[in-house]
């Protein structure tokens, strides 16, 4: 029995009081359900971050001068040796320091423990991740924006283009380990490269005449192969986001520009892309942050569990920076937490790595926000 309005009620008497409170309860119930859902998420997120911060920050920062523990950021990972003497005193040391302490202790040594990868720092993984993300950004943005421009500005809208769009969207549902295997087959084993000595397993070697060949033998496990694989993981995000942002640029800009005699490309370059760019970058950064944290795609294509050299310290020097395999933060975290025995000594590197990784991703996001603000201020409509 729903009686409609309050305006029929005479002032002072309120025959609908109960019904009204009913409705209010329902309203507030809904509001509280929604609110608590939000708070639950907030609390969980906050506790994860606090946990990582409390355990990880002391690895990198300290309360005493110089406040920052540079060795964790500037040294390569190494094995941690823990020696214990008969009095129960413990000495943590590096592989090179072991002998000295052993000599000092002499017979006093009670036992010795080694914990892989938990000593030193994580410079290798940091550098590796930065290189991988760098290649990934260039490839993903280059390919992604190019194809988004084609799809939204040039292609005749029709069945085929719809199918292409659908395929791209579906790509984002593919598990990342599949991308890893794809990258292995594609970039590690069969991508074309120019070389004077094609490998035996090369799929096809086309001589170029002057002693060089284009050989389809892959790029080996390398930064390049890993970066390309990561780029393919986030391409769907980049393409879809870019298309949205291009569509959001008013048609009037294009029409005006064309009416002023600009060619199609001039119009896109001067009147569409600049205005779409802030949005494209912001949405792509989310994808890039995801790529930075992916383990599976780089497992077969770029990452090593351990490497005692930085990418530019190999035989080929700085030239080999993209053709070397590297350590990467997410894979390093995986190794530290799943591949070595856990004890009180392994925690330092684990939490330290996670903390540094979070800081990296956050600064990436922060940079994107600043960039977007700047561009937005310049090109707002």
């Amino acid at each position: 029995m729903q009686t409609p309005a309050q305006d029929t009620a005479t002032p002072g008497t309120n025959p609908f009081a109960k019904q009204k409170s009913h409705r209010e309860t329902k309203e507030s119930l809904i509001k509280w359900t929604l609110r608590s859902a939000t708070y639950v998420i907030l609390i969980i997120t906050a506790s994860i971050f606090t946990h990582i911060f409390i355990r990880g920050a002391p690895v990198v920062f300290s309360l005493t001068p110089p406040f920052i523990n540079t060795s964790f950021l500037t040294k390569l990972p190494e094995t941690l040796h823990v020696l214990e003497d008969k009095q129960g005193k413990k000495y943590e040391t590096t592989p090179t320091g072991v002998d000295v302490i052993k000599k000092q202790l002499g017979d006093n040594l009670r036992n010795e423990k080694t914990i892989s990868y938990s000593g030193g720092g994580i410079l290798g993984p940091i550098v590796g991740t930065i290189l991988l993300v760098g290649v990934c950004v260039v490839v993903a943005l280059g390919l992604g924006i190019a194809s988004a421009i084609y799809l939204s500005e040039y292609a005749k809208q029709g069945k085929f283009i719809e199918m292409a769009r659908l395929a791209i969207l579906n790509l984002s549902g593919v598990p990342s380990v599949v991308f890893g295997l794809f990258g292995l087959g594609m970039f590690v084993l069969s991508a074309p490269k120019i070389t004077s000595h094609p490998l035996d397993r090369s799929l096809l070697a086309i001589p170029l005449g002057f002693g060089e060949y284009i050989s389809f033998e892959g790029w080996d496990t390398s930064v390049l192969a890993g970066g390309f694989t990561l780029a393919f993981v986030i391409l769907p995000v980049v393409i879809t986001a870019s298309e949205e942002c291009l569509k959001a640029v008013p048609q009037g800009f294009r029409e005006t520009s064309l009416a002023l005699g600009a060619t199609k490309w001039q119009t896109i370059w001067k009147c569409v892309l600049p205005f779409a760019m802030p949005g494209i970058l912001t949405s792509s950064i989310l994808g890039i942050a995801r790529a930075a944290g992916e383990t599976a795609p780089i497992m077969f294509t770029a990452a090593l569990a351990f490497k005692d050299k930085l990418p530019w310290q190999g035989d080929t020097g700085i030239m080999g920076i993209f053709t070397q395999s590297v350590q990467a933060l997410p894979y390093h975290i995986y190794t530290l937490s799943a591949r070595i025995p856990q004890n009180e000594y392994s925690e330092r590197a684990q939490y330290g790595s996670v903390f540094v990784f979070l800081v990296l991703v956050m600064s990436l996001a922060g940079a994107s926000v600043i960039l977007r603000r700047k561009l937005r201020a310049k090109y707002k409509w």
């Binding site: 005749k156 809208q157 008013p250 009037g252 800009f253 294009r254 029409e255 005006t256 520009s257 064309l258 009416a259 002023l260 005699g261 600009a262 060619t263 001039q266 001067k270 009147c271 205005f275 090109y379 707002k380 409509w381």
Partner: protein, 294 residues
């Protein structure tokens, strides 16, 4: 002031343009009764539309239009909504090419004597000489300076001195220079609606077109801004051929030398503005200009 750029390789002889006009209005024998008044009231046409049908895909939007638009005069297109004024206007700079399926299915449009839909017409050159101002003022979200310089830049002009002169000339012409000369680097989106529309006009005349097409340039403006634009159009008609679409009959009366009345995709009557408003020959025109249109 007006520089003549040939639309394409073929240098257009002015003679030819005039000879096009010499065509007697009754050239098309099967012109329907309705279209019988489509003869040009002018003697020196710069735009000639002949027996034109226009289709959006399968849907025909314009029927057998014949029209000669005079050089350095203001021509107004009036008529009820959906009658094809914009469609025809947008044929003149071929901006309709953007719309998939839109095409001229019969007849031709000649500008300066050249059929603009022929293969050897370069769109950039055509549009450089046939400028357009749109209904919604849409300056680019760039600086005022860059807005005006845009047309020249896309045509390869990058010398600062040339751009500077052009910007000053066009803003002066659009009656904006004194208002804006101190904030040329400010974002154009910060201007008022009327200023934006005048900026769009300045931008359109930067490439020194011969013809300026305006599609309801004042429909989003208040009366004061409107009268400024009208004044500007009056000024411009010294140097440019102006074709303006308008819904305001007062406006047509104030600014236009000639007026064309369209109805349901057909050109009903085309005559000097005075005649259209005081002594229309067609019943439909009369009903429309008296405001008795149903």
């Amino acid at each position: 002031m007006v520089t003549t750029y040939p639309i394409m390789m073929s240098t257009v002889a002015p003679k030819k343009a005039e000879s096009g006009v010499a065509t007697p209005p009754a050239a098309a024998p099967e012109v329907s009764e309705m279209a019988s008044e489509t003869s040009s009231p002018v003697s020196n046409a710069i735009i000639t539309v002949k027996d034109m049908d226009f289709c959006y895909g399968a849907k025909q939007a314009m029927f057998n239009v014949n029209l000669n638009i005079a050089t350095k005069k203001v021509t107004a297109f009036i008529g009820p909504s959906g009658c094809g004024k914009s469609t025809l206007l947008r044929c003149f700079n071929r901006i309709n090419d953007r719309i998939p399926g839109a095409h001229i299915s019969k007849g031709e449009v000649r500008i300066k004597g050249k059929n603009i839909n022929e293969e050897d017409v370069d769109l950039a050159q055509l549009r450089r000489q046939v400028g357009m101002v749109f209904q919604r003022s849409n300056p680019f979200p760039k600086s005022i300076y860059e807005n005006v310089a845009y047309g020249l830049r896309v045509h390869g002009e990058s010398r600062k001195s040339v751009l500077d002169t052009a910007v000053e000339r066009c803003l002066t012409h659009a009656a904006l220079w004194s208002e804006l000369k101190d904030r040329l680097n400010a974002n154009a989106m910060g201007l008022s609606g009327g200023q934006q529309q005048r900026l769009c006009i300045a931008r359109a005349i930067a490439t020194e077109p011969d013809i300026l097409l305006m599609d309801e340039p004042c429909s989003a403006l208040d009366p004061i801004a409107t009268s400024k634009i009208e004044e500007l159009i009056f000024q411009l008609s010294n140097d440019y051929t102006v074709v303006i679409v308008t819904h305001s009959m007062q406006q047509a009366r104030r600014v236009a030398d000639d007026t064309a009345f369209f109805y349901l995709g057909k050109l009903i009557e085309f005559a000097p503005t005075m005649e259209i408003f005081s002594n229309p020959r067609q019943k439909q025109t009369e009903a429309y200009v008296r405001g008795q249109f149903s």
